[in-house]
């Protein structure tokens, strides 16, 4: 999985490209934890090019969501592919995460 990050003054946008699994979940955690440790606590994860996630990926997302919130920020998601959206529906995680159709909508929500 490839991770690219864009930042403006208040929001960091992290784009995930590939599959979120046992191995790449660690990479995501390292990237997002670093942002949070630098005080960049408002984060959008763009899933437009994320084709797969397993429960290890979901576990990491919940941990990062809790971490961002504990630092006074938030972690929101946008551009979910249908299969990923199903995963969030089946696991009731739509009740936790704020999910947006596109990046602009997610940015405007902060």
């Amino acid at each position: 999985m490839e991770i690219t990050t864009r930042e403006n003054v208040e929001i960091s946008i992290v784009a995930l490209n590939g599959e979120l699994d046992n191995e790449s979940a660690e990479l995501l955690r390292e990237n997002v934890e670093q942002l949070i440790n630098e005080g960049k606590v408002n984060i959008i994860l763009n899933f437009e090019n994320l084709s797969y996630s397993n429960s290890a990926g979901l576990r990491e997302l919940i941990a990062l969501y809790k971490l961002a919130n504990s630092k006074g920020g938030d972690l929101k998601l946008c551009c979910l592919q249908a299969q990923i959206e199903d995963l969030f529906s089946f696991t009731n995680l739509k009740k936790i995460f704020s999910i947006y159709q596109d990046e602009n909508e997610a940015i405007a929500s902060f």
């Binding site: 699994d21 397993n54 576990r59 995963l87 696991t91 009731n92 009740k95």
Partner: protein
């Protein structure tokens, strides 16, 4: 070639060449159709499933023979394509072979050479079709015994996915359902069952057919009581980070059974569900 039955499509913008090849092949009991360009050839292939081989010129106005071959591979990957090249165009022939051409022949033709190539190509096609006839009755078993290393999961999934593809188990069912359940079951056995102890093995048995895949995964851990796993859908567990793997395995497969002490899981997915 008396016993050879097959339908060859000859594609050349030179009508004389088409007629010549048609005449030669028909005298060898090979049924032949002709097309004067790539578009016409594709139209014939799309409208008829009985073409067994394509013989195409490389240099044609509009769609070249190489482009035609690529388009044919997209429609019917197993259909043998022979490209006909002019003198001094060996590099194009090499390019065609690398791109998946069955063979090539040079113009001007050696009649014996071209009939031999066609005969062998039709034999290959016939054998390939016969092998495919038994695939619905084929069951393939894969058996892995791996150390408890999460790094092996992706390769195991890829091996099983490739075998499913070879047998014609629907790719979308695998990618959208089986892959996730298999991933979860393997991670469960390695991390929770064997506690990442490299000296403990995880056994994986997969039986694959066109209609169904059954996967059995066994670990060497102390087991667990499935009834005591917290329900991740319970609102009070929503923010609990783990515990969703079992839920997903059950949701994505048609059946999921654990043995009594939780060290073995057997799961099944039907192609049509």
């Amino acid at each position: 070639m008396v016993n050879t039955s097959g339908n060859v499509l000859v594609v050349d913008d030179d009508k004389l060449i088409c007629n010549l090849l048609q005449d030669v092949l028909m005298r060898n009991n090979v049924s032949t159709m002709t097309a004067l360009n790539g578009e016409e050839a594709l139209s014939i292939i799309n409208s008829s499933h009985s073409i067994d081989m394509v013989l195409t010129d490389v240099n044609m106005p509009g769609m070249t023979g190489l482009t035609l071959m690529q388009r044919i591979k997209g429609i019917s990957p197993d259909l043998p394509v022979v490209v006909m090249t002019g003198f001094g165009t060996e590099q194009i022939a090499v390019k065609a072979l690398l791109a998946g051409a069955y063979n090539f022949c040079r113009k001007p033709f050696d009649i014996n050479e071209i009939t031999t190539i066609v005969k062998k190509g039709l034999d290959l096609r016939r054998n390939s079709m016969r092998e495919k006839e038994v695939i619905p009755f084929l069951k393939v078993q894969l058996h892995f015994e791996i150390p408890s290393d999460i790094g092996f999961v992706r390769s195991i999934v890829n091996h099983i996915q490739r075998e499913c593809g070879r047998l014609g188990f629907p790719e979308d069912v695998f990618l959208m359902r089986v892959k996730l359940a298999l991933d979860e079951a393997l991670a469960n056995a390695i991390k929770h069952g064997n506690k990442n102890d490299f000296s403990k093995a995880v056994g994986i048995k997969a039986e694959i057919s066109t209609k169904k895949i059954t996967i059995e995964i066994t670990d060497q851990g102390s087991g667990f009581d499935i009834s005591r796993v917290p329900d991740p859908l319970d609102p009070k567990n929503l923010l609990v980070e783990g515990g969703r793997g079992l839920l997903l395995m059950g949701l994505y497969m048609d059946s999921l059974e654990f043995n009594e002490n939780g060290t073995k899981v057997k799961m099944t997915k039907n192609a049509q569900s």
